[in-house]
């Protein structure tokens, strides 16, 4: 076996320039795949990280039916206090859950005594919210006191409102809201800062303390709109979500339907489609690599067989079996693929390493925030790319090799 490969290598070196060019082409393809997969993966990670770490968290639990009308922030589909207690129990008992944050979401009228507008607000527990969406503090600008997100009596307003209404940190504003029975209540708050806007759901909401939200809405017992949950292992999110869903399944409404509904970020954010698009592009570039390898190896092997007809005749006359001749040529294509794939992988990973050193930055989001990408590729992905190249090289060599094996020795020997 080693001998066939050895002979194949020698034959490849026989046409140095041609093998080099073909190998180079495949190498470039492999480098392109690795760099693209690495960069796009990092980009994807940055987007997903931004979405989940700044607004959504990894998954959310609502009372069943809430999501269907989330756009009007219904107050009649809240999680009752008792049910929330049990939900908390489930979340605390699950070792995969690292943080969770209850939110009271509602719409209010905002007045700065000069103008009035609508605002969507989240009542949060600052410590829990920061644990569930760690990027939230970094979105706050002109904070009243650095390092403090929010305290009772304060409100964080989306920058779109503060800009338009010329509200400054420290200003007093009035929030007026209807509670679920329709009665109106108003309270004054101090502006603690502005929250930078982000694309996607919840990206332009304001924040206030959860106790203030409950008071403004005149809740007798605290009801919760949604619970944002952060998990330890993001890659295992689906399994964790399934586990939580199963654990919550036995909590029923009086009408015996499940009380909760659970959604991962994928279902909550339209950016999931962007992520899928990136994956699709990675797949596309892999398909291009396959075509590249197929065509170049096929071409080089067809030339090889054609040029060596007499030699093949000699080998066959001496008694080399057709199978052996086939494997000799397949080994040649395989060797070409192997060397190119290995060199390409090394160069590709080197290129990613350089990207990491240099620090590739991309702008993302309306605010044009800069992200430094940390491109990397799973070793398995590199191995998979190499295996694809090898498999396609073998596949492409098969036809020319079969042609060589089928040559009639007498005719091959007469060939000049």
């Amino acid at each position: 076996m080693m001998d066939i490969l050895g002979l194949a290598f020698k034959n490849l070196l026989r046409y140095k320039r041609r093998s080099l060019l073909t190998g180079l082409l495949i190498t470039v393809g492999v480098v392109a795949v690795i760099v693209f997969v690495g960069l796009s993966g990092a980009f994807k990670e940055a987007i997903v990280g931004q979405i989940t770490d700044a607004v959504l968290s990894h998954l959310q639990v609502h009372r069943r039916g809430y999501m269907a009308s989330i756009d009007n922030l219904p107050l009649d589909r809240m999680i009752p206090a008792a049910a929330y207690k049990r939900l908390e129990g489930v979340l605390q008992a699950n070792p995969a859950v690292t943080a969770y944050s209850p939110r009271i979401k509602f719409a209010a009228m905002l007045s700065n005594y000069a103008q009035t507008t609508n605002v969507r607000l989240n009542g949060i527990d600052p410590a829990k919210e920061t644990a569930a969406v760690p990027l939230l503090p970094s979105r706050v600008r002109h904070a009243a006191e650095p390092g403090r997100l929010l305290q009772p009596g304060e409100v964080l307003l989306p920058e779109v409102l503060t800009r338009g209404m010329e509200i400054k940190t420290g200003d007093t504003i009035v929030l007026v809201a209807n509670n679920k029975d329709g009665s109106v209540n108003g309270m004054t708050f101090t502006v603690a800062g502005e929250v930078e806007s982000l694309m996607g759901p919840g990206g332009r909401d304001g924040y206030l303390h959860i106790d203030d939200a409950a008071a403004l809405l005149r809740m007798e017992t605290m009801e919760i709109s949604e619970v944002a949950v952060r998990v330890k292992d993001f890659d295992g999110l689906q399994a964790i979500a399934d586990g939580l869903e199963a654990a919550l399944a036995d909590m029923k409404t009086p009408r015996d339907t499940p009380l909760f509904e659970l959604h991962t970020w994928e279902a909550l954010s339209p950016f999931y489609n962007v992520v899928r698009m990136i994956d699709l592009m990675a797949l596309g570039i892999q398909v291009i690599l396959i075509a590249l390898v197929l065509i170049s190896v096929l071409n080089v092997m067809m030339m090889s067989v054609y040029e060596r007809v007499r030699e093949i005749g000699t080998l066959a006359a001496m008694g080399t079996s057709p199978g052996r001749i086939l494997s000799l040529f397949v080994a040649e294509g395989f060797s070409l693929g192997l060397v190119s794939a290995l060199v390409g992988s090394a160069l590709g990973m080197g290129a990613l390493y350089v990207c990491n050193l240099v620090g590739v930055q991309v702008a993302f989001g309306r605010a044009g925030q800069l992200f430094t990408l940390l491109p990397r590729i799973a070793f398995g992905e590199v191995v998979l790319t190499c295996l694809i190249v090898l498999a396609v090289s073998v596949l492409a060599s098969l036809q020319p090799a079969a042609k060589a094996a089928r040559l009639e020795p007498v005719e091959a020997l007469r060939h000049v």
Partner: protein, 234 residues
């Protein structure tokens, strides 16, 4: 014992409408361990006869037996196996593999056809290289050799694995007169040393002189058989 037996063998080639009888009703016997030449003008059928003996082609009519085996109805793979086990070939243009050294070329049939290990091949390859006087050129590549050296390597390659019969189609045609004589002498010495039957074709009268058995072909027919005293019934 005769290692090759032609019994009324005809080989017809068809090219389009016309069929050419490259061999017509040839009946001949080649004794074992003989040094046999097929001679005749160009187009007389020498290559055709050698291809038939070499199991590279099959007779159109008649029966042909080589080393006790009828040369008919063999599959490609069986043919290859038969050649690998019983036959050696020497080609007019040497046909050494350019990417292999002298040593590796001689080793090839054992490694790639008989699938022996590198270690197991060594004694025989070394012995044959010594026999043909190429032992100090073992690491050279064909491109670095003279024509005579190439053909000596090819003879060693044909003999490795101890085939019963070595076929050589005009083995000296690409060599100058003196070198040709040396290669023929070498082949004869190898016959003496290993007891291998040699069958070769040639145009060259001085090469023919070396043969013990001579078959004259003309236009596909066997027209004359000459044997050195005692050869035919040996």
């Amino acid at each position: 014992m005769d290692i090759v037996v032609f019994d009324n063998v005809t080989k017809a080639y068809r090219s389009g409408e016309v069929t050419v009888d490259a061999l017509r009703d040839v009946t001949l016997r080649i004794p074992e361990k003989s040094f046999t030449a097929l001679v005749g003008p160009s187009g007389s059928g020498k290559t055709t006869a050698l291809n038939l003996i070499g199991c590279l082609d099959q007779p159109t009519r008649g029966t042909l037996t080589v080393a006790g085996q009828a040369m008919a109805g063999m599959s490609r793979r069986q043919g290859a196996a038969f050649r690998g086990a019983h036959l050696g070939f020497v080609f007019q243009d040497f046909s050494l593999l350019p990417v292999l050294s002298v040593y590796e070329n001689v080793e090839y049939p054992l490694r790639m056809i008989r699938r022996m290990s590198k270690k197991a091949c060594r004694p025989e390859v070394t012995r044959l290289l010594a026999s043909v006087g190429m032992e100090d050129q073992a690491d050279k590549y064909p491109a670095q050799l003279s024509g005579g050296q190439k053909q000596r390597t090819a003879v060693a390659r044909a003999l490795v694995g101890q085939p019963a019969l070595v076929l050589a189609d005009e083995p000296t045609a690409n060599l100058d007169g003196q070198t040709a004589q040396k290669v023929i002498a070498l082949m004869k010495r190898m016959r003496d040393e290993f007891g291998t039957t040699f069958v070769f074709s040639t145009h060259d009268p001085r090469i023919m002189e070396q043969a013990e058995v001579l078959f004259h072909l003309e236009d596909g027919r066997l027209v004359d058989t000459q044997a050195a005293p005692g050869e035919v019934d040996r």
